[in-house]
């Protein structure tokens, strides 16, 4: 909206505003398609999708703001590594004229002896009308001059040429560059051409040293530097197909998937490993994608699958291929890979390209094998000493020191869960803690940092370390995200908890806790990991216990970390468990230490919250809480216990009796962790609660009766609030 005073913004036809009106309606103006394309040197794949969406949004918003399309106009956008484009139908070629009522000087000032004064002349000039066309209106202040001023709409080409450069300059890029002398603009990569067309006419948008025209370019290699001259915006997609460019991202994605399916089927029994992220990346790395199936020597399958897949996926953008039944999920890596190309070669060319890719992969696998064998010369046990020289954090010492702390913490945690019916191989756990970080000294981890932990686990296994320790080392960094799985074994779960808790305690101790969006040591992720492990394993540890064990004596620090953990638990319940905000608050108001218990309580509350009786009881509890709070404010004390003799009304007697009867049951169910059943029992209190509030006035004039009634409410709340603070539950309607 244009914010200039007295100026009319874009109004829909349905709007009725007497102050101004469009001289010509939208439907009366000539419409044309609009196409804008910016041609660039290869844009980083990771940035394309965001920029495509932003450009589309900016073009639509700009055209709406300039009253060149109706609001809610739908555009279609395109993107490849070398271009971003937007196409819209129904763009007006001209802004409509806007008629506006202007109020001028008072009649008294405007005319002297029936002759127009300079004030009246100036007003007429401002409104763009003859003095004779001025009208007189009467408003609250008296008689004033008025005029209908008509603002002529500008041509769309002029408006777009003026506005588009600002929109382009505003696009967000994670990393920008300068390329022209004098540094006139920053953009993701140098601009190489622009197309801007309104119908068949070009719109002279200037940016990056270019003036937009109607010429675009095709695929770098398959179409070369020949110009593709567009006659109209609607030709764009087809014209580019002729230039070996699939401009539509979704079409390109489907083309890649089909090509992968197709080449995989050339060898029976093969299947490509689904990898959405990689499909996305390759969609943004290609303009004319095709795929090929390549192979590697079977001997490389002796290397760990983790290493092979990392080389293929992360280093080469290849899809892994497997055999085996997709139903049983026992897919075994096959000695093949899939590469997505940005070209279409003939059969002979494909053979050349396949050969080249196979050659590179073989070299990479050879490297990996070299590291794998080289690293084995120094077993992990001997590498423990080397950790002295690897710094964990300058004030927290080396990884050797960290390993020692984690080992001690593991011991303390085991001490706490002993006797809680949790089986753990303590020796394996302690071995794992000692060896966990040794893989940081290996060449393979230096080469494939993303495989830290896993490499350690693999080496440990190859070196005959007991399997329980190997698995724990392998899984120590898990879960790396809310979607990731937790460590598979009890030892792995405890090691992962201890490792993360040690980091959190250490960093908090140095005052390096996360603030706002800053979390350089990924402590939130570490805490999320602990919460997720506790929530999804049978490890019976409280968050408070873990904080205390990791910190030692500093109670203030323990409390800080407990608060941090509680936030992460809240995040977990909401994001991973999908619990509603109020349920999470209600549950955590009671206790935020036992993760699985909090999950169970939240699930129980969610299960019963829809029932009418439960809603009614919740509301009543909220009322009780309010009454008690008010009484406290006024300094009115409840009596220490409920005196049955002082219960006078039948409704309060009934509530006291029923709640006493229920309390024992609920207490037992709660102890059994049968939260849903307990909540259902509590809901049966509804008739008594309803009757109580209907018939009984809590704040009775008699002081003893009043204190006794307050005590009754306190008792009811206390007896039934062990699962959640129901007063937090938001009742609909």
């Amino acid at each position: 909206m244009n914010g200039a005073p007295g100026f009319c913004g874009w109004l829909r036809e349905s709007d009725s505003d007497t102050r101004c009106a469009f001289v010509a309606g939208f439907e009366l103006r000539t419409m044309a398609d609009f196409l804008f394309e910016i041609g660039l040197e290869e844009v980083p794949a990771r940035m394309i999708a965001g920029a495509q969406a932003e450009l589309e949004q900016r073009v639509v918003k700009m055209l709406e703001r300039e009253r060149l399309v109706q609001s809610g106009a739908v555009a279609k956008s395109f993107a490849t590594p070398r271009r971003l484009a937007v196409w819209l139908k129904g763009v007006a070629e001209q802004q409509e004229d806007v008629a506006e009522e202007l109020v001028g000087p008072s009649v008294k000032v405007a005319y002297k002896d029936g002759v127009a004064t300079p004030a009246a002349v100036a007003f007429a000039k401002k409104a763009g009308v003859q003095v004779g066309a001025l009208k007189t209106i009467t408003n609250a202040k008296g008689e004033y001059l008025a005029a209908t001023s008509v603002k002529a709409g500008r041509g769309a080409a002029e408006v777009i040429a003026a506005e588009m450069p600002k929109e382009l300059a505003g696009i967000y890029w994670a990393k920008n560059m300068y390329w022209r002398a004098g540094r006139p603009e920053r953009f993701v990569r140098p601009v190489r051409w622009m197309v801007a067309m309104l119908g068949e006419k070009t719109v002279p948008v200037e940016f990056g040293g270019y003036v937009a025209g109607s010429v675009t370019y095709g695929h770098r290699v398959l179409f070369g530097e020949q110009a593709i001259v567009l006659k109209a915006p609607g030709e764009y997609e087809d014209a580019l197909l002729g230039g070996f460019v699939v401009a539509d991202v979704e079409v390109r994605r489907q083309r890649i998937r089909k090509a992968l399916d197709h080449v995989t089927r050339t060898v029976p029994g093969l299947r490509w490993r689904e990898d959405h992220e990689l499909v996305d990346k390759l969609t943004q790395l290609t303009e004319w994608p095709t795929a090929l199936l390549g192979g590697f020597e079977k001997e490389y399958l002796a290397l760990p699958e983790e290493v092979l897949v990392t080389v293929m996926r992360d280093h080469q953008n290849y899809f892994a291929v497997e055999t085996g039944s997709p139903k049983t999920g026992d897919g075994k890596l096959a000695p093949y890979f899939l590469a997505v190309l940005n070209t279409e070669a003939d059969e002979a060319g494909v053979a050349v390209i396949r050969h080249g890719n196979e050659r590179v992969l073989r070299a990479r696998f050879n490297d990996a094998r070299f590291f794998w064998e080289f690293d084995q010369r120094v077993p992990l046990i001997e590498r423990v000493a080397l950790l002295e020289h690897v710094t964990f954090q300058k004030d927290l010492g080396s990884y050797a020191a960290k390993a020692e702390r984690v080992r001690e913490l593991c011991k303390r945690l085991v001490g706490k869960i002993e006797g809680r019916g949790f089986a753990v191989d303590t020796n394996a756990l302690l071995d794992a803690a000692s060896l966990a970080k040794t893989d940081l000294t290996t060449e393979l981890v230096k080469e494939f940092t993303e495989l830290q932990g896993e490499v350690g686990g693999l080496y440990a296994r190859a070196q005959g370390i007991r399997p329980a320790a190997c698995d724990a080392i392998y899984d120590q960094y898990r879960p790396v995200s809310m979607e990731d799985r937790i460590p598979r074994t009890a030892e792995g779960q405890l090691l992962a908890i201890a490792d993360k808790a040690d980091t959190i305690a250490g960093m908090f101790g140095l005052g390096l806790e996360p603030t706002g969006s800053k979390d350089p040591f990924a402590l939130r992720r570490a805490a999320n990991g602990i919460v997720k492990i506790l929530g999804e394993s049978s490890v019976e540890l409280g968050l408070g216990e873990i904080s205390r064990a990791a910190v030692g004596g500093d109670e203030e620090l323990v409390r800080k970390i407990e608060v941090f953990f509680a936030e992460r638990l809240e995040f977990y319940l909401r994001e991973a468990k999908g619990q509603a905000y109020d349920v999470v608050k209600a549950v955590l108001a009671i206790e935020a230490n036992d993760v699985r218990d909090a999950v169970a309580r939240a699930e129980a509350v969610t299960a019963v919250r829809g029932s009418e009786d439960f809603a009614a009881v919740s509301s009543a509890f909220k009322r009780m809480k309010n009454i008690l709070a008010q009484a406290r404010e006024k300094g009115i004390a409840a009596s220490a216990r409920v005196d049955i003799a002082l219960l006078t009304e039948p409704a309060e007697k009934a509530l006291a009796e029923k709640s006493a009867e229920l309390a024992a049951k609920v207490k037992w169910l709660r102890a059994e962790k049968s939260y849903k059943a307990a909540l259902e029992e509590i809901a049966t209190l509804r008739p008594q609660v309803d009757a109580f509030f209907e018939a009984v006035m809590v704040m009775a004039p008699d002081e003893a009766v009043r204190a006794n009634r307050l005590a009754l409410l306190e008792k009811v709340l206390g007896d039934f609030s062990g699962i959640a603070d129901f007063s937090e539950i938001v009742i609909a309607g």
Partner: protein
Amino acid sequence: MFLLGRCCVTGNGAVGNWAIAFRIGELPFCEERCMTERAGKKRALTFQELLFTLQRFWADRGCVLQQPYDVEVGAGTMSPDTFLRVLGPKPVRIAYAQPSRRPADGRYGENPNRLFRHTQLQVILKPPPVRIQEMYLESLVAIGIDLKEHDIKFEEDNWEWPVGGAWGVGWQVMLDGLEITQFTYFQQCGGMDLDPICGEITYGLERIAGFLQDVDSIYDIVWAVEPDTGRKVTYGEMRLAEEEQFSAYSFDYADVGKLWEHLNLYESECKALLEKAGFRDDFKDFAKMDELTLKRFPVLGAYELALKCSHMFNLLDARGAISVTERVGVMARIRTLVVGVAKAYAAQGEALTASAEKDVVAG
């Protein structure tokens, strides 16, 4: 299970001969070089021919050919022909091969893909021409790569040399899955914004030669062919001993105490030089110098000393003599020198320009 195997052709390279199927894991060894069979049935370029061809290509496009810099550097970027010439407003087109030493990458000549010292061909185009990418692709055609029969991708890869306060954005150029070139638009150097910016193309010559000749080990690359006998001189023949001995030197023999001494000596001399030009005061001392002293002031000498420090650091690092804690500190020391030199070079250039202008006015 059969599929099209390695593209190995014996015969005339006609398409029909390509559809030979090999069983994976039993691939026959193949001497023939299919790439060149396809590209006009000539043999692939030797290592030295590759270098000639690329140099000729860029010389024809206005690059002055420079010889390799004779002080140890880790990359062609560190040669003063790049690191210092990118500074200031003066246009530059220059190309040179640069042997690049990375002691920690040595593998005693045992790894077929890694070298202690590899060769880069560095092309500097300031300001970058509009068709820089197209020119680059043409250079690939010049060395016998038929673009229509290969898959070429420009994948984001930004470059940064924190010690030099230098960074740029760009791509790694992937040819059939192999990174053959680093393509960078320099944005900052010595912590200073560049204007105009500079395009830098760095070819990995061993990688490309290995690709063209289709060999699996760097050491099997044919460096030259004796014209009379047709005998092939290999990369291994020329360089293996160097890889073996320098790996041993940097990993096992180098005297850590002396390396530290060297580092300290180079550092102190470099610093002393910079201080004579007003290191602590934005090099304002240049403005006070007479013209002869100004133009003879050895900023280039200071840069060599800084490069020596960098090389000593790399050797110490390969020797495992720098702990992680020390590392940050030593790097900061070298950064001070390298960035200081860049600033001094820019200040000296400005002072010279100012002095020349004064002469013009006076004359």
